[in-house]
Point group: C3
Chain length 208, copies 3
C-alpha cells in the first residue's frame, strides 16, 4: 500500500484523537498540563494497552518521537485554537472516524503478525482503536462514552470481521485494508447521522 497514504491517515487520526482528549480535559477545567496528559493518553492509550498485552515492549510511542511531538502540537493547537477548531466539528468527526478505522486495521495487523486467532486479532484491533477514549473517560471520572454511544466499538468489530472475510477471499491485503477503513468510517457516519445505537437490556430491578 502507498505508505504515504496510511501515514497521512495516521497523522490525521492521532490529531483528532489528541484534540478530542484535550477538549474533554478543557471541559472539566483541567490545567494545561492536564490537557496535555489527556491529549496524550487519548491518542496513545489504545496502542499502549495492545503492546502491553501482547508483550511488545517498550511500547511503540517510546521508540518513536514523531507521535509524541505530533500529540504535543495537537494539544497546544486545541488550547489556543479551541474556538476555531470547534467550528469544524464534522471535519474533526471524520478525522476521528478515519483514525478509528486505521487503528483497528493496524491492531489487527499486529495480531496477525504474532499468529493470534481471528477473534483475538479483532479484539486487539478494537482495543487499539477504542481504549484511548476509555482511559480518557476514566481519568476524567466519566463512565466511558464507548459504552453508551452510537455504534463505536462495534464499527471496529464489523470492520475486523470484513477484513478477515476479504482475507479468506484472497483479496489483495492493501486493497482490503483500505476498504475496511472506509467501511468503518461509513458505519460511524451512518450511526451518528441516524443516531443508531444498540438496544438496551436492563436488569429486572431497573425495569420497575
Amino acid at each position: 500500500m502507498n505508505p504515504n497514504f496510511l501515514q497521512i491517515i495516521d497523522i490525521l487520526g492521532t490529531f483528532a484523537f489528541a484534540v478530542s482528549g484535550a477538549f474533554s480535559a478543557m471541559e472539566k477545567k483541567l490545567d494545561p498540563f492536564g490537557v496535555l496528559v489527556l491529549a496524550f493518553v487519548t491518542a496513545i492509550g489504545g496502542g499502549t494497552l495492545r503492546d502491553i498485552l501482547i508483550g511488545d515492549l517498550p511500547v511503540s510511542w517510546l521508540k518513536n518521537e514523531t507521535t509524541t511531538i505530533l500529540i504535543f502540537v495537537s494539544a497546544i493547537c486545541a488550547m489556543f485554537f479551541a474556538g476555531f477548531l470547534k467550528r469544524f466539528p464534522i471535519t474533526l468527526f471524520v478525522f476521528d472516524a478515519f483514525g478509528l478505522g486505521l487503528f483497528t486495521i493496524y491492531g489487527i495487523g499486529k495480531g496477525i503478525q504474532l499468529h493470534f486467532s481471528t477473534g483475538i486479532c479483532i479484539a486487539l484491533g478494537t482495543i487499539t482503536a477504542c481504549f484511548g477514549g476509555v482511559t480518557r473517560d476514566v481519568l476524567l471520572n466519566n463512565v466511558p462514552l464507548l459504552f453508551r454511544k452510537e455504534i463505536y466499538a462495534l464499527a471496529c468489530v464489523a470492520g475486523g470481521l470484513i477484513y478477515f472475510a476479504f482475507k479468506g477471499l484472497q483479496i489483495d491485503p492493501d486493497l482490503s485494508r483500505i476498504l475496511c477503513i472506509l467501511i468503518i468510517v461509513t458505519i460511524r457516519i451512518i450511526a451518528v447521522k441516524f443516531k443508531l445505537s444498540l438496544p438496551l437490556f436492563y436488569s429486572q430491578k431497573e425495569k420497575l
Copy 2:
C-alpha cells in the same frame, strides 16, 4: 489433582465473574457492547494484571480462546436471562466464592513457579482474584466495592497464608490447594452471612 475438578471450578468461577460484570453494567444502563466489555474485564482483569506485573506476556487469555468464548456466552446469558439468573443469587454467590478461591490459588501457584517470596506470592494470588472486580468498578465510575465490602480480599490473603502453612507442613499440594479453596469459600460465606467487615479507621478530620 484431578484436572477436571479444577477446570469445572475455573469455568464456574469465570462464569460467575463474567455475570457479575454484566449485571453491574446493566445496572448502569450500558449498551450490549458495554455489557460484553464489562463481563470480559471482570473475568480476566485480575489474571491480566498479574501476567503483566510478572512479565508473562502475551497475557494468558490471548493464548487461550476457550476463556474468551466462555465469557462471551456468559455475557449473552446475563443479558437474555437476567430475570432467571437473578432468582439464584445464592448459587451465583457460591460460584463467585469458588472463583475467588481458585483464582487466588492459581495466582499463588504462578508466583511460586517464578520463585517469588511468600508475601509476593500471596499478593499475586489476591491480585488475580480481586483486580477484575476493581477494574469493573473503576470503569463504571464507582469506588471499588472491594474496599468497602465484607471481608473479600482478606479471604484471599487468609487462604494464601494457610496454603503456605500447609506447604511448610509438607501436606500434599493437591490436597492443600483444595482445602485452601474451601477455606476461602467458607470465609466468604461466614463474612456475608454475618455481615462481617473490618473496623474502620477514620482520619481525625472525619470524626468531627
Copy 3:
C-alpha cells in the same frame, strides 16, 4: 553519590507517598484493607507503570521485599497515628516533595540506561513521580489532583530539563542529581507557598 543519602530520601519519599494514599483512603472511609491497597498503589504506581511501559518485568517491587514492607508499615502508621501525623503537615509535604524529586531523577536514570531520547526520559521520570497519585485518585473516584493542583508534574518536567542541561554541561552526575532533586523540591515549595498554578484555557462553550 553516597548511596545512603539516596536510600534515605527513597525511604522518606515512599513513606510520604504511602501515607498520602492511606489518608485519602481514610477520608473516603475505606476499610483497612482498602487503606493498605491505596497506600501501596500510591507509592508504587508510578514505578510500576514505568517498568511496564519499558518492559522491565517483573516490575521492581516484586523483586524487592523492602519496599513492600516499608509501605505496609507506613499504612499501619497512617491508620494508628493519623492524629499524630496530621500535626506535621509541613514535614509530610517536604517528604513528599523529596520523594517527587527522587522518583523523577530515578525514572530519568532508567530511561538513559535504555538509551531513550531526552523527551522520553523526562516523560518516564514524570510518570514515575506522578502516576501513583493519579492511580490513587482514579481508584477513589476523583478527577486526578495532578490535573488541577499547583505546579506538580511540571516541577518534575522542569527538574528533568535542568538535569539534561547539567548533563550537557558535563557536570558530575551525582552532583547534578542532588541539585535537580533540590530544584524540584524548591519549585514545589514555592508553588504551594504562593499558590501558583497554571493559567486555565477554557473551551469556548465553558466561557458562556
